[in-house]
C-alpha cells in the first residue's frame, strides 16, 4: 500500500488552468490527508522545470506513488514513464489522471463545474493510489522437456543432444518413418556412405538415453505459452493397423484393390493403399493410406488373418507440455512442374534429383537400376539441369547450395555403373564449396561433361527421347542435344506449416519487429551472428533446412547449435504478466463461475478442486474478477479493491442536488471515445466521472453495490459493442450482470435506470455525449439516491 503519495496537478499551459482554478485546487488538495506526501500544482509539468519538480519531490519526500493529473495517458507516455522509472518509481506506481479531455474541455466555460469534477477525480485517484503497491514478479516453473519437430537428420541430432543432456524429448514426425529426406538418399557425399546407416545409429543412441518419445504420423496443430512453458496440441493420424498384432504377412496387400503413389520413392512407382512399412518405419506394422480407400471397402480387413486391421481408428489429439522446441521441419524439393519449360510432369523421363536418388538406391523402385521411368529403357544419355527453380526471381531467388554437389554425386553414380553412359550437367555456376571441390574434379576426370548454359528448355524428340535446347553462355551458341533421361536439380523449399502455427499463435508483434530478418522460409529469424538459430518465438529454435538450405554437415552443426540454445530454455522459470488473475483460496468456495466466464478457458481445477488460472495463458482481461461472487480473484495493480475504494471516496455533488454518476469505461474503445469527445469540444454534463478499466467485464457487481451503498446516484458501464469485445465476451458478461442487478434494484424499489450499460465503439464520441446527457437528465428527474447521506451503522 502506498504510504506517500504525490499529487501533481498540471495546468497544461492554460489548456487545463483556463477552466480549472489551480489556486483553489491547492486548498482542495490540502484536504486529502492519509498517505499524501506531496501536493503540487504546476502550470506545465511536461516542461523541463515541471519534470524537475516531480523528480525532486519523489526524491525528497520519498514518494512511493505519483498521481499526475493533467493530460491523458496516451500523451507524453514515454516522458513520464521514463521520469518515474528514472526516479526509482515502478511505472505502475505512476497513475495518470486525465482532467483535460475528460474534464477541462467538455466543461469549458463552467469553471465551477470543471473544478469540482477535477477535485472529485483527484479524490478518487487518491483513494486508488492508497491501495496500490508495486508489482511483484510472478514466476512459474518451466517444464524440463523439449519437443523436436521433425524426425530427419536435424531432428534426430537435436533430440540426441537434448536427451543426453537430461532433457525429456518428444520427437514429432509427420511421416510414418524417421530420417526424412536423408532416409531417401542412395549415398551421402562426400564419403559416399549409406545414409540409413547413420540414421539408425543416431536413433539407437537416442533410444539408449531412455528420455525420448517418438511420435510418428503426428503434426503440431496448435501451440501456446512462452519459453519455459509451452503447450502443444499434436494430432496423430492412425495407422488403422494395430501394432503388435500385425505380423506382416502381407495378405492385406494382396486383397487391396487400390494403387497409390509411393511417397518414399518420391512418386516413382506405387504400392497398394494398404502397404508394407517404408524403410526406417520403426513401428513394424503395415499401414493404410485411408484417404485412397474406396467407400465402404473392407477387403483388407477381411483378408487379415491376425485381425489386426481396425478401420474405425480415429486421429488422436495429445497435449504436450514442454519448455523449448527445436523446429527441424526440413525441406521439400521445389515443385519443378512450375518451371514449365523443363517439362516435368509432361515427360515421364524428366525426373527430380530426389527421384534420381531413389532410382539409384537398391531399395528403390528399380532395385538400383537406372531405368527411365517413361521409356523403360536403361538410361545411356543423361542431362542434369541445375537451378531448377533456384536462383530464379520467378521461382525462388536463393541458391539451394547442395544441388551442384548432389548432381555431381549422381553423375558419378552413372559413370561408375555404366562407363558408357554419357552425362551432361547444364549449369549456371558450379558451386561446390569447401572440399566438395574434390568431387567436382573427380567428376571432370570421370568424363562428366559440364556445360554452362542459360536456362534450357526440354522438348520431345521425334526419336522418342528428349531434346534439350539451351544457350552455351561460354560460346554464345545455341546448343541442342538429346537425352534418355533429364534430371532436374530441384531446389530446397521449406516443408510444412509449423512456422506458421508458431508465428500466429505464440509470437507477439513486438518480437516480430525485433526479428526484422525474414529467412528463406518466409518467417522471422534471428540475426545470424547475434541471434543464431532463433525464431521470433522465445525458446523455439531452428535446426537444419527449416532455417535455410544446407548440406548434411551443416544440418548436423545447426542441430547442435539449436540444442545448445534449447538447453537454456528447458526448465527455465517463466516470468508471466503481472496482470494475471490469482484465486485467493481462502475466499474461494469452488463455485466455478470463473471457469464458466473466462473467455479463454484458462482455468482448471487443482487437486483440491480449486479453480486455478494458468498464468501463462491468462490474458489479464480480469473478466473472472468481475464474475467472482466471492470477490476472491485478486489481481495486481488496479482491481476490485481499488475500484471499490474509488466509488466510495466521498465524491461530492457538482452543484447542490446534482446527481453523481460514475462511468466505468473499457480502456480500449469506450474511454478513447470519451477523450475524443473532449478533443472535439463536445460538451456533456460534468456529473460523469469516468474510470477506465481493462475490460468492462472486469467490473464486479460488488463494486457497483458498494457505490450504491456509498450513495452514488448512477452508474454507467461502457463496453465494446457485442461481438467486438477485445476479450471476446467481457462486454456481454457485463451487460448480463447489469441486467440482473437492475432487476434486484427494481425489487428494492430503486429505479433500475440508475445503472445503465452502454455499447461504445472507438469512434462513438457523439453517442457517448448523447447517452451521458440522457442518463444525467434521467437521474435529475428521478432524484437523489436513497442511500445518499444514509447513516452508516
Amino acid at each position: 500500500m502506498a504510504n506517500s503519495i504525490g499529487i501533481f496537478v498540471c495546468g497544461c499551459r492554460g489548456l487545463v488552468s483556463d477552466s480549472i482554478d489551480l489556486t483553489l485546487m491547492e486548498a482542495e488538495l490540502a484536504k486529502l490527508k492519509k498517505s499524501v506526501g506531496a501536493r503540487v500544482v504546476h502550470p506545465w509539468l511536461c516542461g523541463d522545470q515541471g519534470c524537475e519538480t516531480i523528480r525532486e519531490n519523489i526524491a525528497d519526500r520519498g514518494l512511493d506513488c505519483v498521481i499526475l493529473a493533467g493530460c491523458p495517458e496516451n500523451v507524453h507516455g514515454p516522458l513520464f514513464d521514463g521520469l518515474a522509472t528514472g526516479a526509482g518509481l515502478a511505472s505502475e506506481m505512476l497513475l495518470r489522471l486525465d482532467i483535460r479531455e475528460g474534464c477541462a474541455y467538455p466543461q469549458r466555460g463552467s469553471p465551477d463545474h470543471s473544478f469540482r469534477k477535477a477535485a472529485n477525480l483527484i479524490r478518487m485517484w487518491t483513494a486508488r493510489a492508497r491501495l496500490m503497491k508495486p508489482f511483484e514478479e510472478i514466476k512459474l516453473p518451466g517444464y524440463r522437456a523439449a519437443v523436436v519437430a521433425g524426425g530427419g537428420l536435424a531432428g534426430l541430432t537435436a533430440a540426441l543432444e537434448l536427451a543426453e543432456a537430461g532433457i525429456n524429448v518428444t520427437l514429432i514426425e509427420k511421416e510414418s518413418f524417421i530420417g526424412g529426406n536423408v532416409a531417401r538418399l542412395n549415398k551421402v557425399f562426400p564419403r559416399m556412405c549409406d545414409s540409413n546407416c547413420g540414421l539408425t545409429y543416431l536413433y539407437s543412441r537416442i533410444k539408449d538415453t531412455g528420455r525420448a518419445r517418438l511420435m510418428t504420423l503426428s503434426e503440431i496443430v496448435s501451440l501456446r505459452g512462452k519459453a519455459g512453458r509451452y503447450e502443444a496440441g499434436v494430432v496423430t493420424r492412425p495407422r488403422y493397423i494395430k501394432e503388435g498384432i500385425c505380423n506382416g504377412c502381407g495378405q492385406c496387400v494382396k486383397a487391396c484393390p487400390v494403387e497409390v503413389p509411393d511417397r518414399f520413392n518420391c512418386g516413382l512407382g506405387s504400392h497398394r493403399a494398404v502397404q508394407a512399412p517404408y524403410p526406417m518405419d520403426l513401428a513394424g506394422a503395415y499401414l493404410i493410406n485411408r484417404e485412397y480407400c474406396p467407400e465402404g471397402c473392407e477387403a483388407c480387413s477381411r483378408a487379415c488373418p491376425a485381425g489386426a486391421i481396425d478401420l474405425t481408428q480415429k486421429a488422436g489429439e495429445t497435449r504436450i507440455n514442454f519448455g523449448t522446441m527445436v523446429v527441424a521441419s526440413g525441406w521439400s524439393p521445389y515443385p519443378v512442374e512450375r518451371v514449365e519449360r523443363l517439362g516435368f510432369g509432361v515427360f515421364p523421363d524428366v525426373i527430380t534429383n530426389m527421384q534420381m536418388e531413389r532410382l539409384a538406391a537398391e531399395n528403390g523402385p528399380t532395385g538400383g537400376g537406372i531405368i527411365c521411368p517413361g521409356s523403360g529403357r536403361k538410361a545411356r544419355r543423361v542431362v542434369f539441369i541445375q537451378c531448377a527453380g533456384s536462383r530464379d526471381v520467378w521461382h525462388q531467388g536463393w541458391c539451394s547450395s547442395v544441388c551442384c554437389t548432389a548432381s555431381i554425386k549422381q553423375a558419378l553414380y552413372l559413370r561408375e555403373r555404366d562407363p558408357g553412359c554419357r552425362v551432361y550437367i547444364f549449369y549456371n555456376d558450379i558451386r561446390t564449396p569447401g572440399d566438395y571441390e574434390d568431387l567436382y574434379v573427380r567428376a571432370q576426370e570421370a568424363g562428366v561433361l559440364f556445360v554452362r548454359t542459360n536456362p534450357a528448355e526440354v522438348l520431345a524428340d521425334p526419336s522418342g527421347g528428349l531434346k534439350i535446347i539451351a544457350e552455351d553462355t561460354l560460346t554464345g551458341r545455341v546448343i541442342e542435344t538429346t537425352a534418355d533421361l533429364v534430371v532436374l536439380a530441384a531446389g530446397m523449399t521449406p516443408a510444412g506449416d509449423l512456422m506458421k502455427v508458431i508465428e500466429e499463435e505464440v509470437v507477439d508483434r513486438k518480437s516480430l519487429l525485433k526479428y526484422g530478418l525474414v529467412g528463406y522460409s518466409g518467417y522471422h529469424t534471428g540475426h545470424r551472428q547475434c541471434f543464431p538459430m532463433e525464431t521470433a518465438a522465445q525458446g523455439i529454435y531452428f535446426a537444419g533446412c527449416a532455417q535455410g538450405p544446407m548440406d548434411m554437415g551443416g544440418t548436423a552443426l545447426s542441430a547442435l547449435a539449436a540444442s545448445a540454445k534449447a538447453l537454456k530454455a528447458a526448465g527455465r522459470e517463466v516470468i508471466v504478466s503481472p496482470h494475471i488473475a490469482v484465486v485467493d483460496k481462502t475466499g474461494c468456495d469452488k463455485c466455478k463461475r470463473c471457469l464458466e466466464e473466462c473467455p479463454y478457458g484458462v482455468f482448471h481445477l487443482d487437486e483440491e478442486g480449486f479453480p486455478v488460472p494458468d498464468g501463462l495463458f491468462c490474458r489479464g482481461c480480469h473478466v473472472c474478477v468481475g464474475s467472482c461472487p466471492r470477490q476472491c480473484i485478486v489481481t495486481q495493480g488496479f482491481g476490485l479493491k481499488q475500484q471499490a475504494a474509488m466509488v466510495s471516496s466521498r465524491i461530492k455533488e457538482i452543484a447542490p442536488g446534482e446527481p453523481v454518476v460514475i462511468a466505468f469505461m473499457c480502456e480500449n474503445d469506450a474511454y478513447p471515445a470519451v477523450l475524443e469527445a473532449g478533443r472535439r469540444g463536445l460538451r456533456y454534463p460534468p456529473n460523469i466521472h469516468s474510470i477506465p478499466v481493462r475490460c468492462i467485464g472486469s467490473v464486479n457487481m460488488a463494486v457497483i453495490k458498494e457505490g450504491i451503498s456509498a450513495g452514488v446516484d448512477g452508474f454507467l458501464l461502457a463496453g465494446c459493442r457485442s461481438g467486438e469485445c477485445h476479450y471476446l465476451s467481457g462486454s456481454d458478461r457485463a451487460r448480463e450482470r447489469l441486467d440482473n442487478l437492475r432487476e434486484t434494484l427494481n425489487d428494492m424499489m430503486i429505479e433500475p435506470a440508475r445503472v445503465k450499460f452502454l455499447s461504445l465503439g472507438i469512434d462513438d464520441a457523439s453517442v457517448f455525449v448523447r447517452e451521458a446527457c440522457e442518463i444525467v437528465e434521467n437521474l435529475r428527474a428521478i432524484g437523489p439516491s436513497p442511500f445518499k447521506n444514509a447513516i452508516v451503522i
Binding site: M1, K31, L32, K33, K34, R123, T126, A127, R130, L131, D589, K590, C591, K592, R593, E596, P629, Q631, L640, K641, A644, A645, S648, S649, R650, K652, N700, M701, A702, V703, K705, E706, G707, I708, S709, A710, N740, L741, E743, T744, D747, M748, M749, I750, P786, F787, A790, I791, V792, I793
Partner: protein
C-alpha cells in the same frame, strides 16, 4: 424465513454440481433440483433464517419470506452486498421503504476532509 428462489433469475450457478447457496448453507438445506437445475430448499421448515444464501447469491435470485404464521404478506427485506459494506432495503406490507447501510469489513480508513 425460508429462502425462495426466483427460477427466472437462478441459473443453478451455471449447472455446476453445487450452486453457491448449497455451498454456503450452514444447515445443508439448499440443493439443485435435478430436472429444473434451479436451487431449491430441501425442507423449508428447517431453515434458521440466517440469510447467508440470500446474501451470497450472485444472481440475487433468493428472497427470504417470513412464514405466514408469523407475518403478513407481502413485506420484503433485500440485502445488497458490496465489497466492504452491505445495504438492506426493508419494504413493509404497505410499500413503505426503509434503507440501511452497514459496514461489513474494515476498509481503508478515510481521514480526508469533505
Amino acid at each position: 424465513m425460508p429462502p425462495k428462489v426466483d427460477p427466472t433469475k437462478c441459473d443453478g450457478c451455471q449447472g455446476e454440481s453445487e450452486p453457491l447457496c448449497e455451498q454456503v448453507c450452514p444447515g445443508n438445506l439448499m440443493t439443485l433440483h435435478k430436472e429444473t437445475m434451479k436451487a431449491i430448499i430441501r425442507d423449508k421448515s428447517d431453515c434458521w433464517d440466517c440469510m447467508t444464501c440470500t446474501k451470497a447469491c450472485p444472481r440475487q435470485a433468493i428472497q427470504t419470506v417470513l412464514q405466514y404464521q408469523l407475518a403478513y404478506f407481502p413485506g420484503k427485506l433485500i440485502p445488497l452486498v458490496g465489497t466492504n459494506s452491505v445495504t438492506w432495503t426493508s419494504i413493509d406490507c404497505h410499500g413503505r421503504v426503509e434503507r440501511f447501510v452497514m459496514k461489513t469489513l474494515v476498509s481503508g480508513d478515510d481521514e480526508d476532509e469533505d
